[in-house]
Amino acid sequence: MKDEAKNMSPSLQHSNTPILHHATAPSPRLLLSPLLRDLLDGIRAEPARVALSFMAVTIGMVALVLLLAVLGGLRERARVLVRELGANVFAVRTAATGESGRKQDLEEKHAVILRENLPGCSVSAFQRYELNARDVGQAISIIATDESLSGVRGWTVRQGRFIDRSDVRNAERHAAISVGLAGLKKWKPGDMVSLENTAFKIVGIVDPGTAALESGSSDAGLGVGENVIFVPRTAPFPRQRDSREMSHRVDAIFVQATADEDFHRVLVVAQKLLQAPALGLDGISWVTPESLLQGIRRLQGSVRVAGGSITFLCLVLGGTTLMSLMVANVRDRVVEIGLRRSLGATATDVAKLFVFEACAVTFSAGVVGLVVAGLILLLIREKSSLLVSIGASGLALPLVLSIAMGVIFSYWPARMASRISPSEALRNE
């Protein structure tokens, strides 16, 4: 005892107190802010409970990010569909069967009716053929059309030009090809290509979009596909000579209203024109941006309700797990609360400690949730055709929500901690 007593400094006030280096040198942890050290200590005190809460919140965050990504993908798909259809564009196409049960074909004369009665609007029609694969060794679509199609659909001409009015008027054997086909076959403007023993000269390369209208839409048939050759509708393409009926058939007619025109008025006029009893067209369907989005909106609604419910339940489960962690934490750390109060912590300081601890758990769970969800989304993009998309707001929302969860679900435990009387807390010592 005496030896230990001798070790004591003769004076607390003495400035020359010998202090050993290892006692004075701040450890690296001292560089951390006191709050961060408190958080680390709090987490280390209950690692198992913290891990459980962390997992529960992470699962909720993953569910939230996936939900946002799927909804974002649907929004993106809707945008692509409308963009692919074209600005201020509606289309009319032949339905599989008419109400009378017989097939109702649209013909070039219907496009002429629209052209003549909708002044100022651009009207274009196309007829699609599937090319015999033997000729080019690849599944290729031939689109027999007019010079307006590229403009109406808002496609970009990458090289050369699209077929023009002169090509159509003179039935030139000229062709424009899609970017996909140009890349696949290494064809370029000026090359000659044989289509069922008829030689066509390539005059340009055009980008017809992502073929969204072709692949996933319920209105399949409006898209042109990826590997496409556009030829003038008047060109002597062999199949057009098969029959008189075939040569006049068109698969779809596109109408683009000018920016000055009232889109809906133009649509109504067009519908009146083509649905006139005299024409006998009872089996056509109209495709507008609104009709394209209907299916997606229904899907969005279903995903929002089903996915949203699951996500909400996951988040609430995570939050209640966190709350139980914080309540247990407060109960286990009553003496520490008393110590902090004895050192001058106010009730607010104590409450803040538990709120910050909860926020640290939820925020880190939010970050990990984002990373895990990101990996899952990468897998989805790699392995499936499901379109998923998440923007900056979609990334920020889980982080903001994670902090909000920390505050909300720790409020009650923190309030409980702040209300513990210092003397009562130390009585538990």
């Binding site: 005892m1 230990e4 007593a5 001798k6 070790n7 004591m8 400094s9 003769p10 004076s11 607390l12 006030q13 107190t17 010998p18 202090i19 050993l20 290892h22 006692a23 004075t24 701040p26 450890s27 942890r29 001292l30 006191p34 050290r37 408190d38 200590d41 280390r44 005190a45 003496v335 520490e336 008393g338 110590l339 902090r340 109060r341 004895s342 050192l343 001058g344 912590a345 106010t346 009730a347 300081d349 009387s421 210092p422 003397s423 130390l426 009585r427 010592e429």
Partner: protein
């Protein structure tokens, strides 16, 4: 520190229990006041009132000339932060932190951990003879060492009043003597000490001794 007619009652199922009855106590700077008494006599309650951790049911506590009843929670915390050091029977150390970090924890609610805090914590640790133990985790210290770390934490900010609640209650005889010697030296250096214990044998360390029986100070 002054207590004037202090009464403290606690609620109970059978009605309020009066734990302290008309306590009048004045502690002058530099005194070492020891209060002894049996368990349940109200010693710890008295200590909690003296350290501003609790408020009296009636009467007045005056600290450094200010009436405690007029202070809000923030003001009470400010006084505890700067002017009062507390030592507890079971040390109240943060077991996952080193001895030095525990002493430094005294500054947790004082603005920032700065160079002064590190220096003051080092000095306090040296004062209780534990300079070499600074890096050791609190849970790996002996009971006597833990209590000395707790004392170092209490004195690191040079408090006006050092209050100790049964500081030797969990120590063996040798460690208890070391700790009491530590208190005596601190008192000799001018720190006012108020200690409660049930151990009458420690009265020799104090400059004044009171006995608390059934809530009355004799």
């Amino acid at each position: 520190m002054q207590m004037i007619g202090v009464i403290k009652t606690f609620p109970s199922p059978s009605g309020p229990v009066e734990v302290l009855r008309h306590i009048d106590l004045v502690i002058q700077p530099g005194e070492f006041v020891l209060i002894t008494g049996p368990s349940g006599s109200g010693k710890t309650t008295l200590l909690n009132l003296a350290s501003l951790m609790d408020s009296p049911t009636a009467g007045e506590v005056v600290f450094d000339g200010a009436r405690v009843s007029t202070m809000d929670d923030g003001a009470l915390c400010a006084v505890r932060k700067r002017k009062i050091g507390m030592v507890f029977q079971r040390f109240c150390l943060l077991s996952n932190r080193s001895a030095f970090d525990n002493v430094l924890f005294r500054f947790r609610y004082v603005e920032g951990v700065n160079v002064d805090a590190v220096e003051l914590a080092s000095k306090a640790l040296a004062t209780v003879g534990l300079s070499r133990m600074g890096d050791r985790l609190a849970r790996k210290l002996s009971a006597g060492e833990m209590q000395r770390v707790a004392i170092a934490r209490a004195i690191a900010l040079k408090p006006d009043l050092l209050v100790a609640d049964e500081p030797t209650g969990n120590l063996d005889a040798d460690s208890a003597m070391t700790v009491m010697e530590c208190f005596r030296q601190l008192n000799e250096q001018g720190i006012t000490v108020l200690m409660v214990t049930h151990n009458e044998a420690l009265r020799g360390y104090a400059t004044r001794h009171h006995v608390c029986r059934s809530g009355v100070l004799e």
